[in-house]
Symmetry: D2
Subunit: 277 residues, 4 copies
């Protein structure tokens, strides 16, 4: 018997950082997950903890590092943490850090309102000097009321779906895009600007695309990002098809001119692809 994979770490580490400028405060709230891999077989097979950095220590490290300026952006914060674990613990061969941001929108100089369910994400892997940085979004709800068709598909003996030239198209986008290695730095402004540039492309392409299927629009969104953003080398898009079913109002003496729908959560389509250049 052998151990063919193993990793461990701390998840759900919530931390908030307030930056107190004279005239206004910044509010950064994040949830961090850390996973490390390395020379840990004996901890499993023998209960030998001599190389085990406790996950409680990882949590403390998140709190301590939150005091630094890198905590203002999830990419730089994740980088700082991942580098720490691979550089200070020789038995650690690989450290992965995921950060999810709780979005707070400014209401006043010292006051904010929470929004969501969309969360900005960052994911960093450090393996010696080799580092990968992916930014992303999770649970970004998008809907369009026209410009979406689905026709010309395969029919078999279990097919009952009608073809349509005009349906509601709703999704909850998860996206992760990878930055080229030469762009990795601690420049927090760069990370922020880059994230917003990608988000703008994803949002606008979804709105404007004449969709023949979820697959078709997913591709167009990824293509827009790779075409416009030279510093992005790869994008992974996951798009559920959150069905809005037209209601048959005829039993009640009414017609439904594509106006009344039942939103459903399950079952849902689920489409994903990775695009690279």
């Amino acid at each position: 018997m052998r151990i063919t994979e193993n990793r461990y770490g701390k998840s759900g580490v919530r931390v908030a950082r307030v930056v107190r400028h004279q005239d206004r405060h910044e509010m950064h709230e994040m949830t961090v997950a850390i996973q490390i891999e390395g020379d840990f077989d004996s901890s499993y097979s023998e209960g030998d903890n001599s190389k085990v950095l406790p996950t409680d220590t990882m949590k403390n490290t998140v709190y301590a590092f939150a005091a630094g300026p890198e905590a203002a952006q999830p990419e730089s914060f994740a980088l700082l943490l991942a580098r720490h674990f691979v550089s200070t613990q020789p038995q650690v061969h690989r450290a992965s850090v995921e950060v999810q941001c709780q979005p707070w929108q400014r209401n006043g100089r010292f006051s904010f309102s929470g929004s969501g369910p969309l969360r900005r994400t960052a994911s960093v892997t450090a393996e010696g000097a080799s580092e990968t940085v992916e930014a992303g979004i999770a649970d970004y709800l998008l809907l369009k009321t026209t410009g979406s068709a689905f026709a010309g598909f395969v029919k078999d003996s279990y097919t009952t779906l009608a073809e349509t030239q005009d349906r509601l198209f709703a999704t909850s986008l998860d996206a992760r895009w990878r930055y080229r290695g030469e762009d990795i730095s601690m420049d927090t402004n760069w990370w922020d600007t880059s994230w917003h540039a990608v988000m703008k492309l994803l949002t606008e392409t979804f709105a404007e695309h004449e969709s023949k299927s979820v697959q078709h629009t997913l591709y167009a969104m990824g293509e827009a990002v790779l075409a416009e953003c030279d510093h992005v080398s790869r994008i992974h898009l996951t798009m559920p098809n959150k069905h809005y079913l037209p209601v048959d109002l005829r039993p009640f003496g009414l017609s439904n001119a594509n106006e009344v729908f039942v939103p459903t959560d399950e079952p849902h389509g689920l489409i994903e692809a990775v695009l690279e250049q």
Copy 2:
């Protein structure tokens, strides 16, 4: 043995209504819950269904009424439904309708992004000709980074909390306010304008109040609404105290100038009050 209370209805009725103008579409998505009370004892004690309107019929009624213009605002939609059940089914003495709106923000003429967790709500009760309309919000996350103290409280043998003059104050506001009966109408613009006026007062008062406690700020928020909005007669505010705990960074050789916090979900304070004028 006797039945001292009973009610039944349909919950979780999700419906979406698209209004298709030439140059742009409106998107309205709601979740409706209906409860009726009346002469139903025999359905419980005898299994006599002769007066029972099926909850499936209530669901269909929601779908059918969603085709009308009242569906553009939750208050008018709830009113329409509540009036229908008390006026068409004589055994129904009271109908209560709750509507929660899924917020969709416009991204383009035909395209939207979802936001939350805040939801606009409406709650209508019809009892013969007597009607009550309450508007509200649920899960409105608010946070301020200064302007919040908590001191001068009771100490007993279980008290360990330190007094503070400057803490983070975060809450998830639930509010319901009642409109005066003379304002009840099917004027959808009026409902929309009134809701936004109350929301602006709640948001600004939270931001600007010099808080001595959650109770103190809750009262100020309700007072602002009752003072400014003549058409509101009553407001019910519920405010959890979502604690952000300052982290002790001294074990790591660092100080924490009120900058690094651990956000927690549980346990949480929970404060509520009803104000009337």
Copy 3:
């Protein structure tokens, strides 16, 4: 303007108590919510905290009292806590304590597995010497595959539901029953025995009743408890109708002999009643 209602307290206070016998351990895990009412108007209107017991102190009190033997049952634990707040803080006129138990089933002498979603609950209100104790259950999933009809109901112009003599009946029972005042004590065995007796009646009656509607079965279940349990004076039952919809398999050349269903969460019927003797 006046405050017409107010209360505050601490919710989501989780605590676990291990009782370490020589040969086996007991595991009790609870989530506690405390709410108090009383002479607190000035804390709202003036920010005067001189009568305010901090909710953090309530949390500490839960932890401290968890060390006592009363923590072995939710009713006695809630009683102990409610009595403490009304008896030690004269400004408190009423204290309400809700306890939910996380069920742990024994796997070994010192080992357990968690179950659910059913949770045992207790709810105590103390108002001076007047005390009310309600035990209950939350999220008790029950399903029967036959013995359930729904027919003879009202039809209107929105009715499309077919009558049925044999449907699946699934619910998620919430029940709360009130014990007579003379039975209120710190006898933990009594509370445990009484809870299990009621649960047995609810479970068996659901299984055996020939149901004409959810209302009909709800009544039978409450009637069984009030008839058999002299120490119960009142029971409040809430039963969603969790619909299992038969699938039309004819498009696929198959018949469905009441065997294949789609379980749905929304929309759902919701039926409730209070029975007293």
Copy 4:
């Protein structure tokens, strides 16, 4: 630009199957997710749906196949579905089917109560004639009140955790184990017996192991399964460390003999490994 990965399918397909024997009924409730991969690039890049089997058809296939005897066990049901998609649609190179079972425990001949959060799972991948079957469990809550230590670990400048010889150990086990290819069949009894045999080993090993860490116990559990079950070739175990923190009762004049704990959900440790033989 190129598509380097893509897949699509239907998730959240809920279906219930009642088997109606004369004297008792069986209740099977499952949630199915299907994903297919193959020759689909043109659907993304061109919006060409000519090879796209709609996800709605996949849903219908689940309903239709639920009428067959294979639906009595998740492994055989998943196999049937996966084989269908690869054998009837030549453009499909790979089909993956995940099934999660909602556990219903028998209360009577025709009556059941739901339990959880534990769910039995099955996961099948078909790639031409090559098939992989994994059975598993999700969200299996396990807790032991003694027999768990954590000491001898690495200390760095962020470590504050004290060593302990006796802590509470709680987890929510996710496990997936792979059966050898020669055991793959439609024998529903075999799947059921095998699943229960693995569950018994996991449960007993957790209860009896003298744990030096979560890693140590995870390994012992996997080792027990691989040693005892010849038909299992691989097991993947994921175990969060759900921390129960001892409460310091000294401020209240009490001692805590390892009896009173605060259960916490976040942050939590997260340990995983794959064992193979």
